[in-house]
């Protein structure tokens, strides 16, 4: 029954990727920017959660909510300060700025607290539950539960609320949305807020699950989450969820087969295959340039 255990591990990892990927995909969907700093918001979320738990003695859920709130604010600040001016800039200028913001966040954190890693305190009791002969930690189940709740919440926001409708409208056609009286700037900020909050949540969950956090922890999961977003079809919310889960499971399987050093390559091989074979991803739509 080891495979079941691996599957659960994979899904736990995948749900973290999925939470980060959602932010990527929403931001890309609305302003066509690969927000490289998104992985660093994830890192900030992990640190905020860490300080909330270790310094202020808060429990898991208050820490999670504080991390989400602060990350949402940080996300909006990043958007307002750095990205807003880039709406009409070239793609390359936007991407370089995003890389710059990413480097800035990482190095500012390193400047203030050093590059050394931090051990996450144990906030969730970690019992092993035996299901079908597989030992599954209660943490895994908790993580899965939190992720599912957040995703349902996101679906609700996107499909049932006014701001969600505005987000969909702006991502479809910003000019038309503006003409229809939608405040495009606020909608974009809201997108950043929601995406960053999810990344912050992912940071806290990552810390609790893997117990080790450091200022550069966001780089690789950030890139992989982007891979997940591309895999699912960039701009598609269900795509990001599925892409994240698939990637998490694939990585866990590669590790379980004894190729753990190749684990990181798996994500990029998937990326390249999907880009070459079906660039629009699993749930994406094909677009064609008008001549």
């Amino acid at each position: 029954m080891e495979w079941l255990q691996q599957l659960v591990n994979g899904i736990s990892l995948g749900s973290i990727y999925a939470l980060i990927a959602l932010g990527y995909t929403m931001v890309y969907g609305i302003i066509k920017l690969i927000n490289f700093a998104h992985g660093d918001v994830f890192m900030l979320g992990a640190f905020i959660g860490f300080y909330a738990i270790a310094r202020w003695d808060l429990g898991f859920f208050p820490a999670l909510i504080i991390a989400m709130l602060l990350c949402a604010i940080i996300g909006v600040i990043i958007e307002r300060v750095a990205y807003k001016r880039l709406r009409n800039a070239t793609r390359i200028a936007a991407l370089i700025t995003a890389i710059g913001v990413s480097l800035l966040i990482e190095n500012t954190v390193i400047y203030f607290r050093g590059a050394s890693p931090e051990a996450y305190p144990e906030v969730l009791s970690n019992k092993s539950i035996s299901i079908f002969g597989a030992n599954i930690s209660s943490q895994s189940i908790m993580i899965l539960g939190v992720t599912i709740v957040l995703m349902i919440l996101l679906q609700f926001i996107v499909h049932k609320t006014k701001i969600g409708k505005a987000m969909r409208a702006v991502s479809h056609d910003p000019d038309a949305a503006r003409l229809m009286g939608i405040n495009v700037d606020n909608t974009i900020s809201a997108t950043f807020a929601i995406g960053s909050a999810l990344a912050g949540a992912a940071g806290v969950i990552f810390g609790v699950y893997y117990t080790r956090i450091d200022p550069l922890m966001g780089v690789l999961p950030g890139l992989k989450a982007f891979v997940a977003a591309v895999l699912g079809g960039i701009g598609s919310i269900p795509g990001a969820m599925v892409g994240g889960l698939v990637l998490g499971v694939v990585e866990t399987v590669v590790s379980a087969l004894g190729y753990s050093l190749w684990r990181d390559a798996a994500a990029f091989v998937i990326l390249i295959l999907i880009l070459i074979l079906k660039p629009s991803g699993i749930f994406g739509k094909n677009t064609r340039e008008k001549v």
Binding site: K32, I34, A82, R85, L86, A89, T90, R91, I92, A93, A94, L95, I96, T97, I99, G100, V101, S102, L103, L104, E106, N107, T108, I110, Y111, L223, F226, V227, V230, L261, W262, D264, A265, F268, V269, L271, I272, L275, I276, P279, E289, V291
Partner: protein, 312 residues
């Protein structure tokens, strides 16, 4: 003929510069520290110019240039350390294998555009790095110990040839074909430019010289490790090209020189250095997104050449 005069004038200037520095090294005026900065500068210029032909000229957004540098570094190191070949041969081997890697990566990925291409090249570079990480023959994560063979002469020759080849390429019908792809791929195609072919050519030439830079880099330090060639290195190279001005060869050279010097002076303060670096990057992109020189060349500012196109 006026253009030819400028060309030979610049060549002469370069050779004089080389000789002066060489005399200063022989005379002991420039110590090891300055020599090492000079060589580092040359390596960075080669990397910048070799990426310039891909992004600045052809407009193909590649952010995995360190991958090709890694190929050049490792294969040249294998040639000298494992096979006992002379250094110049090793540089050539490193460059050719890097060019082949460029060809291999370029053919499938250059069908992609913009952000997708960027991410694919980043992915390829990471795969290359992870392969080196997993091959015990080249030392895995511990890396490979290498004799110091690089010197000012090799570094200078490398830069000279890189700039010469890429400038000559740019100033020909082939270079114009590449620029037309950057400007408007559909129109270029409609004017009879085989866009796939030229994209792959530019990518291969760029990879070749990234390989040369990698070979000289590998033999300048005593060790190479896969971590050196991560995407932070790719971003560094990208920053030279973008800060200098996309489409400007002299701009990317100037940016490479300037940033190498700044890095050397701030090497005692790594965190502050990176914060300043990233702030400059963001501010330049927000207030002068075309970079220092835009698509212009420094020579056009001095009115050597007659026009402001991509001339050297």
């Amino acid at each position: 003929m006026k253009k030819s005069k400028v060309f030979w004038g610049l060549c002469l200037l370069a050779i004089i510069f080389y000789a002066v520095v060489q005399v200063m090294i022989s005379g002991g005026i420039l110590d090891m520290y300055y020599q090492s900065i000079l060589i580092q500068m040359c390596i960075n210029i080669m990397l910048a110019v070799s990426l310039h032909i891909i992004i600045g000229i052809t407009g193909q957004f590649s952010i995995g240039h360190a991958g090709f540098m890694a190929v050049g570094a490792y294969f040249s190191a294998i040639a000298t350390m494992k096979l006992g070949l002379p250094f110049p041969v090793a540089i050539l081997i490193g460059a050719i294998v890097a060019a082949l890697a460029g060809l291999l990566v370029g053919i499938p990925s250059l069908r992609l555009k913009g952000d997708y291409l960027a991410i694919a090249t980043l992915g390829f570079a990471e795969i290359i790095r992870i392969i080196f990480l997993n091959v015990d023959y080249v030392g895995g994560a511990a890396g490979m110990v290498i004799t110091n063979l690089s010197n000012w002469t090799y570094a200078f020759m490398g830069v000279f040839v890189t700039i010469l080849v890429i400038a000559n390429f740019t100033n020909s019908r082939h270079g114009r074909g590449c620029i037309s792809i950057r400007e408007d791929e559909i129109a270029a195609d409609a004017m009879g430019i085989n866009t796939t072919y030229y994209k792959v050519v530019a990518f291969t030439i760029g990879s070749f010289f990234a390989g040369v830079a990698g070979a000289i880099y590998a033999h300048n330090f005593f060790i190479i490790q896969p971590t050196t060639f991560g995407f932070l290195k790719s971003f560094d190279i990208l920053i030279y090209v973008v800060l200098g001005g996309l489409g400007s060869l002299s701009g990317s050279v100037i940016a490479a020189i300037f940033l190498t010097v700044v890095s050397a002076y701030l090497s005692g303060y790594p965190e502050e250095r990176m914060i300043i670096y990233s702030l400059v990057l963001i501010i330049v992109m927000l207030y002068r997104p075309t970079g220092l020189l835009g698509t212009k060349e420094i020579t056009s500012l001095f009115k050597f050449g007659k026009r402001g196109g991509s001339k050297v």
